[in-house]
């Protein structure tokens, strides 16, 4: 049985590669990881004919085979190495027909690597609107490959593409084995003598780019370097000449295959929608106002819209727990199920509405092409702080989750800019902080008050916290810019794509994937910690817990009923393992206004901050009354009394101190692990952890002392 052929999908950024991938594979997609690199690998199955499928591999968008940033290196590592597990049987190069010459550069390089290639011409309608008519039959003949006209967004032309792919798989015609430029045969022969027979362009690529290719050992690299110096071969010079030469050939081909109506009739080019929108979005004042307005609407909406489903989930979990406690026998197992497991799962589910809304906004901004305008207007500002216009995307994505945000820094070419972006991104308030903010803001910020009668004051407070995180990220970045020294220059050469209507299917897939990843990845940790916590809070060293009841009864002979039960369970918690941990850290957190119960939450939060709310529910459902049907976590915390003052525990000073602590503290194992993977050093996650925790402690201390 022959194995499923692999097809790599290659193309310029914005050429419609992801659209085509979605059109071809629909929901038959899989997200995994490339071996050895922490890069998401998107594959999907495309059915060519009944019982004949191919595997489509979506590669990152690139402008040429020569990588300029880390995420681009992946492509050359796969296409340059026939032994790579993902080396494709053939390639589909997706080209934006309205920008044909630039797109054909990459096509010609892929073809010269000896990989059988089909050219998928996308956005022909755009090209025609701009006055270009493309003769794709002639183009196919000139380029000596199959050419298929497609409309990736609407899914038109896929049958034609199928035929081209089937033909190419059958004939496997690779290109004429010629080099784009004359290089002395001896150089190529020497590479081939050392590394085996290969296409000439592939051998040449090995010679030029071996530093970035994982297939070579140190000795092999030395051999290649020796060949280079022996023949005085300069990679940069060659690459520059090759690019010019390829463009010359491409221009000749395009001139024969494309008719430019504008030139023939000397027509004035039409003002496109993109031009009109850019007049506004890139305006020195209007551009910023619009960007801020978008962010404000995003947070206001996330806070107000998402609360309805969140209240439903919160209430639903409480109701379910009360019902289960009524039905099931009163045992330790029931308690583990309700207060441990279900409370933990509830703490995961409650995130879903907010994560969904955040990813809705972020993917809409990406999809429409607006995000690169944000980079454009923000670059100068960000640069003052040691960042880069491209840092805006990680920072905004950081609002959802720091892990993908840190991974998205790979598009930043400069190592210093990238490192600073990685280090400060977790200061952006991620979605895991949202439930904590939600609960605490609801406790200390009045709900009905409105600013100018327009906004929900709680929404304003939330927006303020996000701004604070952003502000702190900038300040930290500036400090790092001063400390870190690097001579390397950053660059910002970037295409501003045309505006496009968002593809809602694509947006939906993004939302679904991120919610899914959260529920199953983060959810596992949260539920596990909730259960461990429940055990730690239910059992203690020695027989302290067993003696609790007798001790309390003895000390308070007059107490009866619920009050007595509360006192007993509070005492039990205090003497549990968790209680001991809490007491242990209490002296350190006392100056911030926290007691040992919050201490327990802080300790558990250091693995992942999202367990705060779950921990609080566990702690307060054990220490407080459990017969209240509406006992949601918010109400329980509101009812908590500070034993020292007799006033509510969660007053403004404690509330804001906790909010600030959670805003700045580094409490996420996954983020630290990602920082390690991306920087390949333990030094940076350590720095990240230390400076953020110090920042959190000092700020929370200042806030508490100031407000109380």
């Amino acid at each position: 049985m022959s194995k499923t052929p692999k097809i790599a999908l290659i193309g310029n950024p914005n050429a419609g590669k992801s659209s085509l991938f979605n059109s071809l594979t629909g929901l038959n997609q899989k997200t995994g990881n490339f071996p050895g690199v922490t890069m998401e690998k998107h594959t999907g199955i495309w059915e060519l004919e009944p019982k004949r499928s191919v595997e489509i591999l979506d590669l990152p968008g690139i402008y040429s085979i020569y990588p300029k940033s880390i995420d681009e290196e992946l492509v050359i590592n796969i296409l340059g190495d026939p032994k790579h597990p993902d080396f494709p049987d053939m390639a589909i190069v997706v080209a934006d027909a309205s920008n044909l010459k630039r797109n054909l550069l990459l096509f010609s390089q892929v073809r010269d690597l000896g990989i059988p290639t089909v050219l998928a011409l996308n956005m022909i309608d755009v090209a025609e609107n701009e006055g270009y008519v493309i003769n794709s039959i002639k183009l196919a003949r000139e380029l000596n490959v199959e050419v298929a006209e497609v409309n990736a967004k609407k899914g038109i032309g896929l049958n034609g593409l199928k035929l081209s792919v089937i033909k190419t798989l059958q004939n496997r015609f690779a290109s004429n084995d010629a080099l784009p430029l004359p290089v002395s045969d001896e150089v190529i022969q020497e590479v081939q003598a050392n590394f085996g027979e290969a296409e000439m362009y592939r051998s040449l690529l090995w010679l030029m780019e071996h530093d970035r290719m994982k297939m070579f050992s140190i000795q092999q690299r030395e051999t290649l370097d020796a060949i280079k110096s022996k023949h005085h071969f300069s990679s940069k010079k060659y690459q520059s000449e090759e690019t010019v030469k390829r463009y010359e050939q491409i221009t000749e081909v395009v001139d024969r295959c494309v008719i430019n109506l504008n030139r023939q009739w000397d027509a004035v080019p039409v003002k496109t929608w993109t031009d009109r929108l850019d007049k506004f979005f890139l305006h020195p004042v209007g551009g910023y106002v619009f960007f801020l307005a978008i962010l404000f609407v995003m947070f206001q909406a996330v806070f107000t819209w998402a609360t309805y489903p969140m209240d439903l989930i919160d209430g639903g979990v409480a109701t379910l727990n009360d019902w289960l406690k009524g039905v099931l026998p009163d045992s330790a197992l029931t308690a583990l199920l309700t207060d441990g497991l279900i409370a933990g799962i509830g703490g995961v589910l409650i995130f879903i509405p907010q994560i969904a809304f955040l990813f809705l906004f972020i993917s809409l901004l990406e999809e429409t092409g607006y995000m690169s305008r944000v980079m454009f207007i923000m670059d100068k500002l960000m640069r003052r702080f040691g960042l880069n216009g491209k840092s805006v995307v990680p920072l905004i994505s950081g609002v959802a989750c720091a892990v993908p945000a840190i991974m998205s820094t790979r598009s930043i070419g400069s190592w210093k800019d990238r490192l600073i972006t990685i280090l400060v991104t977790p200061l952006m308030s991620c979605s895991a902080r949202l439930p904590i903010y939600t609960v605490l803001i609801a406790l200390v910020v009045p709900e009905k008050n409105t600013l100018f009668g327009l906004f929900n004051l709680q929404g304003v407070a939330l927006f303020g916290l996000y701004l604070l995180g952003f502000f702190m990220a900038l300040v930290s970045a500036w400090v790092m810019k001063v400390i870190l020294q690097a001579k390397e220059k950053s660059y910002f050469i970037m295409e501003l794509p045309t505006y496009k209507a968002p593809r809602f299917k694509h947006v939906a897939i993004t939302i679904f994937n991120s919610v899914n990843a959260f529920v199953f990845e983060a959810g596992k940790i949260i539920v596990a910690i909730s259960i461990v916590l429940w055990v730690l809070a239910s059992y203690g060293p020695g027989d302290e817990i067993a003696q609790s009841e007798a001790k309390i009864r003895l000390a308070n002979p007059t107490l009866q009923g619920v009050e007595l039960q509360n006192k007993i369970s509070a005492d039990k918690l205090e003497h549990s393992f968790a209680g001991h941990f809490g007491h242990f850290v209490e002296p350190a957190i006392r100056p911030l206004g926290y007691d040992w119960k919050i201490g327990i939450a802080l300790i558990t939060s250091f693995a992942a901050r999202e367990v705060f709310v779950g921990t609080m529910s566990t702690i307060y459902s054990m220490g407080g009354e459990v017969d209240d049907a509406n006992a949601t976590i918010k109400n329980r915390m509101r009812a908590e009394i500070n034993p020292a003052t007799g006033k509510p525990m969660y007053d403004a000073a404690l509330g804001f101190s906790l909010l600030i602590f959670y805003a700045f503290a580094m409490q996420c194992m996954s983020t630290l692990a990602t920082t390690y993977r991306e920087t390949k050093s333990w030094k940076y996650p350590l720095i990240q952890f230390s400076y953020m925790t110090a920042l959190a402690y000092l700020s929370a201390f200042a806030v508490y002392q100031w407000l109380s």
Partner: protein, 75 residues
Amino acid sequence: MANLADLKIGEKGEIVGFTDELLSLKLLEMGCLPGTEVVLTHLAPFGDPIAIRVSGSYTLSMRREEAETMLIKRT
């Protein structure tokens, strides 16, 4: 000799060369070849970065200091 950063909005130029080898590699593969016509279309706030239209086919943004490495002839 004039460079790209000297252009004002709406002004046109033709690329004649580059002064930075590494940047020129990136600019070349983005289609900024000698002889290509460029138009300055947008300036970000504070005049940096800038955006140009490359041979009438797409919009490319870059920083002012990067634009200074691209030598042009006003047309």
